[in-house]
C-alpha cells in the first residue's frame, strides 16, 4: 500500500513501575511521554499529535480522556485519537497516527497509555451498566476471566486443545521474563505449576491469566524526513490492520475466531510480506487462550492447530516464531491496554534492545493487540 515504510516508530518507553500505590495514572503517562520523546531526541514542544485511551476508573480519567491527558501534559495537539478498542487501542492509535503522518496531517505523534489496575481498584468483573445491551448480561455473573474461558472451552471442544497446551504459553512467557529486570514475575514455572494454580473460571487457571500491574508506556511516530534527523534507529511501519467484533457474549459470531483474522490479513497485505518473514511476534496475552487464537487468526498455523504449534516449541526464542520476548502480559506487565507494550517490545527487538530475550538480528516484527472480550484487534508489522 502507498505509505508502507514511510512512517517510523522513533521513540519508545515502558515504565519500570509495576506497583504504584498512591500514584495517579496521569503521572505515569507523563513519565512515559517524556521518556519516549527523550528516546527519540524530541521534546514536548515538537508534539502536534497525541493519542491515548483512558476511560476506565483505574486510568484516571473522568470525562473526556484525551483532553484530560493533553491538558495534564500542557500540550494543544491538532491531531488526536482516543479510539477505545480496549487493549488493542494503542496499536490502533499508532496505525491511525501513521496514516495521518503519511497524509501530511501531523508530524510528531505520541501514543501513550497508563493504568493503575493493581492499586486503582482493578474490578474487571462488574459490568458498567444494567441498561441497554448490558441488561441482557448483567444478571449472569460475567467475569473477565469467564469471558475468555468460554473461548477456551469451545476451542477445546472443537479442536481437542488441552489445558497443557494453553499452559505451555504461560510457561514460555515466564521463561522470557527471566532476564527482564522489570518483569512482575521472573521465576521459571512448569506446565504442572500452571495446572496446579487455582481455577479462576474453568478451564482457565490463575496462571493462564495475565499479571495485574500499575504501569504505562508510550511510543513516538514520525515521518521519513523527521526520522532521519533523530538519534534513535527508526522502526518502519510496514503494515497496519484493525477489526472490531462483538462486546457481549450473546452477540459473538464465533468463540474460536477473533477479529484478528481480519486485522492480520490487512496488515500482511499492506506490508507485502508473508508469515515466514516475521522474525518475532508480540501477541496480546491477556490470557493464554488469547495468544492461541492470535497464532491461528494471524495465520502462523491453521485454525485448530494452535495447541500442537505451541507444544512443538515454535514460540520459543529458538523456534519458528518467538513470541512475547519480554515476558508479555502473562509475566511482565499488564496494567490494562497492553497493546502499547507489544508495540514497544517489537521495536526494542528490531533495535536489539529487548530487556527480556533479545533475538539475533530480527528484521521484521509483528505487534498484535486484542481488547474487550476478544472484541477488537489491531495488528502492526514493523521492519528495519
Amino acid at each position: 500500500m502507498g505509505w508502507s515504510g514511510e512512517v517510523a516508530v522513533a521513540g519508545v518507553y515502558e515504565s519500570p513501575r509495576r506497583k504504584a500505590p498512591g500514584v495517579h495514572p496521569f503521572q505515569i503517562q507523563a513519565e512515559c511521554v517524556l521518556g519516549a520523546l527523550d528516546d527519540a531526541g524530541l521534546s514536548l514542544s515538537d508534539v502536534d499529535g497525541f493519542c491515548t485511551s483512558a476511560s476506565s476508573p483505574g486510568e484516571g480519567a473522568g470525562w473526556m480522556d484525551i483532553c484530560e491527558v493533553t491538558e495534564y501534559l500542557g500540550i494543544e495537539p491538532t491531531f488526536v485519537d482516543g479510539t477505545d478498542t480496549g487493549g488493542a487501542a494503542p496499536i490502533a492509535h499508532a496505525g491511525h497516527a501513521a496514516a495521518a503522518i503519511a497524509a501530511g496531517m501531523t508530524d510528531v505523534v505520541v501514543v501513550s497509555y497508563a493504568g493503575c489496575s493493581y492499586s486503582g481498584g482493578g474490578d474487571f468483573d462488574s459490568l458498567p451498566s444494567t441498561w441497554g445491551p448490558w441488561s441482557y448480561e448483567a444478571p449472569y455473573g460475567f467475569t473477565t476471566v469467564a469471558s475468555y474461558a468460554v473461548a477456551a472451552q469451545r476451542h477445546m471442544h472443537d479442536f481437542g486443545t488441552t489445558p497443557e497446551q494453553l499452559a505451555a504459553i504461560a510457561v514460555q512467557c515466564r521463561a522470557n521474563a527471566g532476564p527482564n529486570p522489570d518483569a512482575r514475575y521472573r521465576d521459571p514455572i512448569t506446565v504442572d505449576d500452571v495446572l496446579a494454580s487455582p481455577m479462576i473460571a474453568a478451564p482457565l487457571h490463575r496462571n493462564d491469566c495475565c499479571v495485574v500491574t500499575d504501569s504505562g508506556g508510550a511510543v513516538v511516530l514520525v515521518g521519513k524526513e523527521r526520522a532521519a534527523d533523530l538519534r534513535s534507529k527508526p522502526a518502519w511501519v510496514l503494515g497496519v490492520g484493525e477489526a472490531v467484533g462483538a462486546m457481549r457474549m450473546s452477540q459473538m459470531r464465533s468463540f474460536t475466531e477473533t477479529p484478528g483474522a481480519a486485522s492480520g490479513r490487512r496488515a500482511f497485505e499492506m506490508a507485502g510480506v508473508g508469515r515466514d518473514a516475521i522474525d518475532c511476534a508480540q501477541l496480546y496475552d491477556s490470557f493464554t487462550i488469547t495468544v492461541l487464537l492470535a497464532l491461528e487468526d494471524l495465520g502462523f498455523c491453521s485454525k485448530g492447530e494452535g495447541g500442537p504449534f505451541v507444544e512443538s516449541g515454535a514460540i520459543a526464542p529458538d523456534g519458528a516464531l518467538p513470541i512475547n520476548t519480554d515476558g508479555g502480559g502473562l509475566s511482565s506487565n499488564h496494567p490494562g491496554r497492553r497493546g502499547v507494550f507489544a508495540l514497544i517490545e517489537a521495536v526494542r527487538q528490531l533495535r536489539g534492545e529487548s530487556p527480556g530475550v533479545q533475538l539475533s538480528d530480527p528484521r521484521v516484527a509483528l505487534a498484535h493487540g486484542c481488547g474487550g472480550q476478544l472484541t477488537a484487534t489491531a495488528t502492526m508489522i514493523l521492519g528495519v
Binding site: D125, A138, G141, H157, L204
Partner: protein, 135 residues
C-alpha cells in the same frame, strides 16, 4: 451480606422481553418482512434492516454453545454463588443468549448439549431466563 444482584433496566424497546420473562415466557423479535429472529432487541432487523418487528414466543429449546465454571469473582453480588456456570446458549430459532446453567450437574456439561430455557426470580418481580440441561 452479599451485595444485591444487578437487575436489568427496562426500557421502551425491551419491555415485552422482560415482562414476558416475568410471566415465564421467552419472547424474541421476529422480522415481519424476512422472518429473521433476533436477540437482543433492536428497532430494526439485523438481517434485512426492516423495521416491522413483532414479538413471538420461542420454543425455549436450544444447545449449549460454550460455558465457563466461575470459581472466583470480584463482584460481591455473585461471590456467594461460586461455582456457577456462565454460558451462552443458541436457541432453536437462531439467536443466542447469555445465561447461567442451573440444576445441571457440572460434570455433565458439554458444548452442544441440549438445553431448555427455564426462569429464575432474582429479585421481587424480576425474573430472568436461564438454561438447564435436558440430556
Amino acid at each position: 451480606m452479599a451485595a444485591a444482584k444487578p437487575v436489568p433496566t427496562v426500557d421502551e424497546l425491551n419491555r415485552p422481553y422482560w415482562e414476558g420473562a416475568r410471566d415465564q415466557r421467552l419472547l424474541l423479535q421476529r422480522c415481519v418482512s424476512c422472518g429473521h429472529h433476533q436477540f437482543y432487541p433492536r428497532p430494526f432487523c439485523l438481517a434485512c434492516a426492516g423495521t416491522d418487528l413483532e414479538w413471538v414466543e420461542a420454543t425455549r429449546a436450544g444447545r449449549l454453545v460454550t460455558f465457563a465454571v466461575v470459581h472466583r469473582t470480584a463482584d460481591q453480588a455473585f461471590a456467594g454463588d461460586v461455582p456457577y456456570v456462565f454460558a451462552v446458549v443458541e436457541l432453536d430459532e437462531g439467536p443466542r443468549l447469555t445465561v447461567t446453567v442451573v440444576d445441571t450437574p457440572l460434570d455433565t456439561l458439554r458444548c452442544d448439549m441440549p438445553v431448555m430455557i427455564v426462569f429464575t426470580e432474582i429479585a421481587p418481580d424480576v425474573t430472568v431466563p436461564n438454561a438447564r440441561g435436558t440430556a
